[in-house]
Symmetry: C2
Subunit: 319 residues, 2 copies
């Protein structure tokens, strides 16, 4: 049996699993939250303990790794993490290869999740697709001609930072009206917070206010979705802006690259049917009539990066 | 010697040339304007006469064709022309193969020009690039991994119809604030016309007005560029909006696909250094800091589609 070790260094979670090549069932699976004030060293220590617990002395044939931040996939070196300190220029591939004595392959989570959905999830049988995760951030990963397209500098897929409304609010990246600024979970919460803070305590947003008992600091993207589902007008309006921004982004991508399929994953995609309806309608209106595409939900959920890590290792073994 | 016949069906011009494989000099070259009220049949008749005049009884090994409109590159069937009537579903590849008894390869002008610049022009030595033509319309063609990327339905590259200003003016395609609506030659002229029509006959736009002796119908994109170069404030402002729109588009494309290079051709790219400066600055501001790219002018000018047609035929011969 050819054993693959799959690792997922997320922003807040660490996961590791083993699988036999060709199988679609984990042999073993471990997941931990990063501690508060995690840094690269604590993350690596926790991952080591997960790995040793999984392997128990056996040796994998290859290691595939999903990392939650920019990575040089050629060298397997992490550029940085936006969530965890100390990851600057860590040669993750080399570290793992030295420690476990087998080849390791590292790429960023959006690229790896795209690969996972393509090989094992919603993208099976499609030759070209764009996977988008809409969660704390908004990122994407390409499959073109059946293979990952990472871009000349490994930076392709940054749909979160394309501008869809130059008159929109300022994003963390410094620009106005990025998709991420309008569509991500934390910004949905922030937008709701700002509107509620300015409104007198009256009808619009009443349900939303109730969910946090007027403590606006407690607002999250998920609560905005819940309030919208319960009929809160203000929450619905804010969610629709999120769906609109992502819909324009997707329509623009369709015109530019014309993939067969868009796969959407991440917590915000659970915002309800109305969010999906607006998104699909705006994407369709933004794309040219002659440009065909489908938009579907991801199938692998939180395990997409781990399954993508398996695919990354399988690719390498097959070479 | 292996002889290639290259054809260019433009919106207003028809061109044909012959070249030996491996050579970068035309053996023979012919160019004609389409007549007023041209249709597919008159275009085909003129092209036939150009071809016979070029070949004089000799037979090419293959024919490469650039067509100014959407094409199904797999079958070589023209979908339509936005400029010339009667091109709907014309099987151009089959027609040429039946008539000349050699293989023919047909693709749309933006894809073919991208290939031409990649093989023989400004894109030599680059593995990934996006060619953009900014002229009557705004279109683009991809080279990824050293090969054309046409999209799942052959529609990739439509940067002209990505939305960069949702509050902008309405485009022919029905959306607001498309790149083409803000950046193309005819729309630059239209924008100038509209502003001048509303302004009293005073200083702003005075130079521009003078160039057409107050007959606003005579305004063209080129005249707006000339007025801007001569110091006309209004013309400069309108041109900067064009450069801004294209700059946002290019920055968005850089974030999404991360090609090494953008090559810009077409009449509007002759609008002067200020247009280029604004465009490059806005593109740089729109792209993420980590995303590197170059923006350079096309090298082959009006012959890019013809040289691309040569590359298309060479590709096929090499297979």
């Amino acid at each position: 049996m050819t054993l693959i070790l799959a690792l997922d260094f997320g922003g807040t979670k660490l996961a590791a699993a083993t699988v036999n090549v060709g199988s679609r069932q984990w042999l073993r699976y471990e997941r931990r939250f990063s501690p508060v004030n995690a840094n690269a060293n604590t993350d690596l220590e926790i991952m080591r303990s997960l790995i040793h617990s999984l392997l128990q002395g056996t040796k994998p044939t290859a290691i595939g790794v999903s990392f939650g931040g920019p990575v040089d996939a050629t060298t397997g070196t992490v550029r940085l993490s936006h969530h965890v300190a100390g990851w600057e220029n860590i040669p993750l591939k080399n570290l793992l290869e030295a420690e476990f004595g087998v080849p390791a392959y590292v790429d960023n989570d959006a690229n790896v999740a795209a690969l996972g959905e393509h090989r094992f999830g919603a993208g099976q049988g499609y030759d070209s697709l764009f996977y988008i995760t809409v969660s704390t951030g908004v990122g994407g990963g390409w499959i073109l001609n059946g293979k990952p397209w990472r871009g000349a500098g490994g930076m392709a897929g940054e749909i979160g930072h394309i501008v869809v409304d130059p008159a929109g609010p300022v994003c963390l990246c410094g620009k106005r009206g990025c998709v991420e600024r309008l569509a991500s979970g934390p910004y949905i919460a922030q937008n709701a917070r700002e509107v509620l803070a300015e409104l007198p305590r009256r009808t619009p947003g009443k349900i939303l206010r109730g969910l946090v008992q007027d403590n606006l600091e407690l607002l999250t993207g998920q609560l905005v979705s819940e309030a919208a589902a319960a009929g809160d007008d203000l929450a619905q309006e804010i969610l629709q802006k999120s769906a609109w921004a992502l819909g324009v982004g997707i329509g623009n991508v369709a015109n530019l690259v014309n993939p067969q399929l868009f796969i959407l994953g991440g917590s915000v995609t659970k915002a309800g049917t109305r969010w999906w309806e607006v998104l699909c309608q705006v994407a369709r209106e933004t794309a040219l009539l002659e440009v065909d595409f489908e938009i579907i939900p991801a199938a692998l959920g939180d395990d997409a990066p781990l399954w993508g890590a398996v695919a990354l290792a399988e690719f390498a073994i097959a070479k």
